[in-house]
């Protein structure tokens, strides 16, 4: 068994692979402490599936916090993890879009699974999960209810902001001007999907785009990306946010 761990800026994801099959997974908050998050993953797995760290032939870590994990581990790059996971997905895809909490990345693969081209967001997080969290906090709604709320929108509003901070100031103005939460929420989704769409258009792609990362759980965002890019979109089947963790585990799985 291989444990793949993806230490993201918001959540740390663990995926246990046995013979190329996903047998277990776990999510814990990273809370800016990769070491602690890594221990929480191991504790969690022990609790939920009686798996001990010694049961794993290898532990492979990827993601933002990888270099700050002190327990012995193998490491694998994020982009290559995503590439492995997209080839593992059924059906395999040659273009990946991963929407994390503070990073969004799009990459395209050649027939051998090698990353040919990729683009990440600029410093700004306006196409990412953290952005939605901040804005929804200002709107006083939850991420879960946001899709349903946006469906009630009856007016198109354009937001011009450069980044999450400016968007938040736009949103506060709109709230004060009496604009409905539904219309603002829809405008936020529109702005976010346009930003992500622009990123996608920077990379030449073939076939469907495989979407992973926490934001891929949101049907409005996935639909929006399909609309903006005009490309068919697939959601990573094994759980969108597990993409990096599964890919990391696959790096060894392939070697065994």
């Amino acid at each position: 068994m291989i444990l793949g761990c993806d230490i993201g800026t918001s959540f740390t994801k663990g995926a246990v692979l046995d013979g190329g099959e996903l047998v277990d997974s776990i999510r814990v908050p990273t809370e800016a402490n990769p070491d602690k998050a890594m221990r929480a993953v191991l504790d969690g797995l022990r609790e939920q599936s009686k798996l001990d760290s010694l049961d794993f032939d290898e532990t492979v870590v990827t993601g933002w916090g990888e270099s700050r994990v002190s327990m012995p581990h193998a490491s694998f790059s994020v982009l290559n993890s995503l590439a492995r996971a997209s080839l593992w997905n059924d059906p395999p895809c040659r273009c990946v879009l991963c929407l994390g909490a503070q990073n969004s990345v799009v990459l395209s693969l050649n027939d051998k699974g090698r990353v040919m081209e990729y683009r990440m967001n600029d410093k700004c997080a306006s196409g990412c999960g953290k952005f939605l969290e901040i804005i929804f906090e200002a709107l006083d709604i939850s991420v879960e209810e946001s899709v349903a709320i946006a469906e009630a929108a009856d007016k198109k509003i354009t937001l011009s902001g450069q980044c999450a901070v400016f968007y938040e100031s736009d949103v506060v103005s709109l709230i004060n001007a009496g604009e409905s939460v539904a219309n603002i929420t829809e405008a936020i989704f529109e702005a976010l999907t346009k930003t992500v769409g622009t990123l996608c258009k920077k990379v030449k792609t073939r076939g469907p785009v495989l979407v992973g990362g926490g934001l891929a759980n949101n049907s409005r965002i996935v639909g929006g990306i399909e609309a903006v890019t005009g490309k068919p979109v697939q959601v990573f089947g094994a759980g969108p946010d597990l993409m990096g963790a599964i890919g990391a585990a696959l790096s060894v799985e392939a070697a065994l």
Binding site: T158, S169, N176, A177, T195, T198
Partner: protein
């Protein structure tokens, strides 16, 4: 409008040459609409391809060339025997820049990106060509995308020296202007005689004088029109043949003169900045009860200041006016003259305060506005520095600052 519907370029040149002189005059009678007055017509005029004057111009075989900078001598286009309508390009109506952002990242001026976005969307299909200058690096670097992504049929670059000091710099600019004329000759087989150039200069001087009259109607003790109306009228002038605009503007001026004055305003404000043709800022200022009575915008008062000398060699006179008009902040060694200009306009309009606007990432205006503001404060003027995107949606943020400013100056 569909560019495929226009005649082939070579034929159009000859065809219009014969009837060219009438392109302007035949339009005025049948522009389609029957607005109640010239002010209303101009202030509500559709822009770009939806504009009836541009449609008429094109249907008569005329060409339209867009440009983005006040250092582009329009008369040279206007005087072409193949009938070219110069249009100063604006991006009012742009709602997002998702396609332009593929090429120009978000830390580039939003006006530049909005223009390119509209270009990619096909909003500028009515243009036969475009002149870009290197006045600012951000606009200059869009040249390649207008060429490769929009596929502009005729595209030329006008290089402008960074200082007006010394004869050699003027010679450089004059050479650039001549070269632009030659590239048009090469493309359309058209080159204006000195006589035609003189006639165009006269048309444009009249335009500038009428625009200054319009400014006087705002800056006088009893203003006759709001800043928002004035900006919309000026914008119509960018999108119309100047002969027709001059006629309409003259009518508008007489209509405005007999209007009751807007006397009960809360404060008289002047705005300054770069290219601004969207009324959002003026609308916010005027929604507080203040009146925008003048401006030192690149697309406003600065654009119509200084006449072309009608004596002497017309090409040199033309280049002289465009090179030495009230300088853009990108010009070195001209701060004192720009400051004098701002001060003079502010005094002429007896303003209570000056609001400077800049687009994010416009370094030239960011520094200029701060420096002018600092000097003007020393001279006793109240100033406010604002920043917003070209498509501004954060109305609340701007309004809070404007209101605080009015309170600060005791209005």
């Amino acid at each position: 409008m569909n560019i495929d519907g226009t005649p082939v370029a070579e034929d159009a040149g000859n065809a219009v040459c014969t009837s060219g002189a009438t392109v302007g005059s035949t339009q005025s009678g049948d522009c389609g609409k029957a607005p109640t007055g010239a002010v209303e017509e101009l202030a509500g005029l559709a822009l770009r391809g939806d504009n009836p004057y541009i449609e008429d111009w094109k249907s008569m075989g005329g060409k339209v060339i867009g440009y983005t900078c006040s250092y582009m001598p329009e008369e040279l286009l206007h005087a072409q025997p193949c009938k070219i309508l110069p249009v100063r390009m604006g991006a009012v109506g742009c709602s997002g820049t998702e396609d332009a952002d593929i090429y120009l990242h978000k830390y580039i001026c939003s006006f530049t990106r909005c223009l390119l976005q509209l270009g990619i969307e096909g909003e500028f299909e009515f243009l036969d060509g475009m002149v870009i200058t290197d006045a600012c690096d951000q606009m200059r670097r869009t040249y390649e995308y207008w060429r490769d992504e929009v596929g502009m049929d005729f595209l030329t670059m006008l290089s402008v020296p960074h200082s007006i000091e010394g004869e050699h710099r003027f010679a450089w600019y004059l050479e650039e202007v001549r070269r632009m004329g030659e590239s048009i000759a090469e493309k359309y087989g058209s080159y204006p005689s000195s006589q035609r150039l003189r006639e165009s200069i006269a048309v444009y001087n009249r335009y500038r004088k009428l625009m200054l009259e319009l400014y006087t109607l705002r800056s006088c003790a009893h203003p006759k029109l709001s800043g928002s109306e004035a900006m919309r009228i000026a914008r119509a002038g960018f999108n119309m043949p100047k002969e027709l605009f001059n006629e309409k503007l003259e009518q508008a001026i007489s209509e405005l003169s007999s209007r009751p004055a807007l006397d009960d305003c809360r404060a008289r404000i002047m705005i300054g900045g770069s290219y601004l043709d969207d009324t959002f800022l003026i609308d916010i200022i005027e929604s507080t009860g203040a009146l925008v009575v003048s401006d030192t915008l690149c697309s406003g008062r600065k654009y119509v200041d200084s006449m072309v000398d009608e004596e002497g060699d017309p090409m040199e006179a033309l280049a002289d006016r465009y090179f030495k008009h009230i300088a853009c902040p990108r010009m070195m060694g001209q701060f004192a003259s720009r400051l004098d200009f701002t001060r003079r306009i502010a005094e002429e309009a007896s303003v209570d305060g000056i609001i400077f606007h800049r687009l994010p990432f416009c370094d030239n205006h960011a520094v200029e506005n701060t420096m002018e503001g600092r000097e003007l404060e020393k001279l006793g003027f109240a100033t406010l520095n604002l920043e917003s995107e070209y498509v501004a949606t954060d109305e609340g943020r701007i309004k809070t600052r404007v209101q605080a400013f009015l309170e600060k100056i005791g209005k």
